[in-house]
């Protein structure tokens, strides 16, 4: 009887441990079943990444549709080439979609926001978005403001 009690308690302990692990996995790190979702790749070139990193979100109207999977330098155009994995279920991104690097909140993480255009043709695996807007660079903005003021 005594050892039955011990075995039961150890069993509970192990279960609780795995629940904690599960909690960390799902609630805390956002690992979800849909991360097994199928994705297709699209590319975009930017002048300035402004701190966007791999694993950054890609969203349309604030809804996550994918993530940044790789970042590299396009040696010919000297621009940043960003590779994104988009869920296959989001298959209606028009080819004139605009990709811009935005900030979530003032000091938040950088993410790629996509604004869909009106073209009936859609982006497929391996396509590149041409219309891009780089990250807002605070120094350039202030510089532009200062020089516009001085020209008054």
């Amino acid at each position: 009887m005594y050892s039955r009690y011990i075995e039961a308690v150890v069993g509970v302990f192990i279960i609780v441990g795995f629940i904690a692990l599960g909690f960390l996995a799902i609630q805390v790190s956002g690992l979800s079943m849909d991360s097994q979702k199928e994705t297709y790749r699209i590319y975009a070139q930017f002048d300035d990444l402004g701190g966007l990193s791999v694993r950054g979100q890609v969203s349309v109207a604030g809804v996550t549709v994918g993530k940044v999977s790789a970042i590299s330098l396009d040696k010919k155009a000297y621009r940043a080439l960003v590779e994104m994995e988009i869920y296959k279920s989001v298959d209606n991104l028009s080819i004139d979609t605009v990709a811009s690097i935005q900030t979530a909140g003032l000091l938040g993480e950088k993410f790629v926001g996509l604004s869909v255009g009106g073209d009936p043709d859609v982006l497929a695996d391996g396509d590149t978005i041409f219309d891009t807007q780089s990250a807002l660079n605070l120094e350039k903005l202030i510089g532009a403001f200062a020089s516009s003021r001085s020209s008054l």
Partner: protein, 260 residues
Amino acid sequence: MLDFFVKKGQATIDFVSSLGRSGIFLIRAIFGLSFSLKSLSGLIKQIYYVGVLSLVIIVISGLFIGMVLGLQGYSILIDYGSEQAIGQMVALTLVRELGPVVAALLFAGRAGSALTAEIGLMKATEQLSSMEMMGVDPIKRVIAPRLWAGFISLPLLAAIFSAVGIFGGLLVGVDWLGVYEGSFWANMQQSVDFQEDVLNGMIKAIVFGLVCTWIAVYQGYDSIPTSEGISIATTKTVVYSSLSVLGLDFILTAVMFSSI
């Protein structure tokens, strides 16, 4: 003068041979666990003593550390208007570092010293010798289950520690200081990656579990069989375990998170 060097040389040789002995000991102990019903029930019993009985200290410490992180974090982040980031701060700190490390330190202090004392006492009362005389290998019978129990328990304890800590941070951040619950979780989920953060934290905990239990069990086995010897061994366990955990943590962090 020469005597001093001789002593130092002797001490170094002793240390190195002790390390070698403990290595051989470890190999024998890890592979000493057989899969019979008897030894599995022994293992379960040890998981109880080593893991379950450490739960109280782990849960209470986890809760308090999570709450302190929430409090301190809030007071720092509010200056930048980024108090919404409190969720990710608490979660990352716990999952990457404090969960495995503090759980390991507490484990070494509570379970490690208990193991050393128990085994040291068994050695002092000649129980290990008599087992050997009866043809039973004490390493297989006594040491192996305890080693595996520690190895299995610490990752679970570290996960529980982190989970409870995050809950503590939630209590302080959301319920007390008024951070919006939605952004608490949303920011956290975005910045904590399962593979990079949670899994790496668990790997750390597994490594710490092995090292702490190994040290605890070896110090007991190698102790001088007197009451003074046991108390020296127990102290050594806590000191060596703690230093090893902190040192290994640095190395593992450098390896795992160097891309950042």
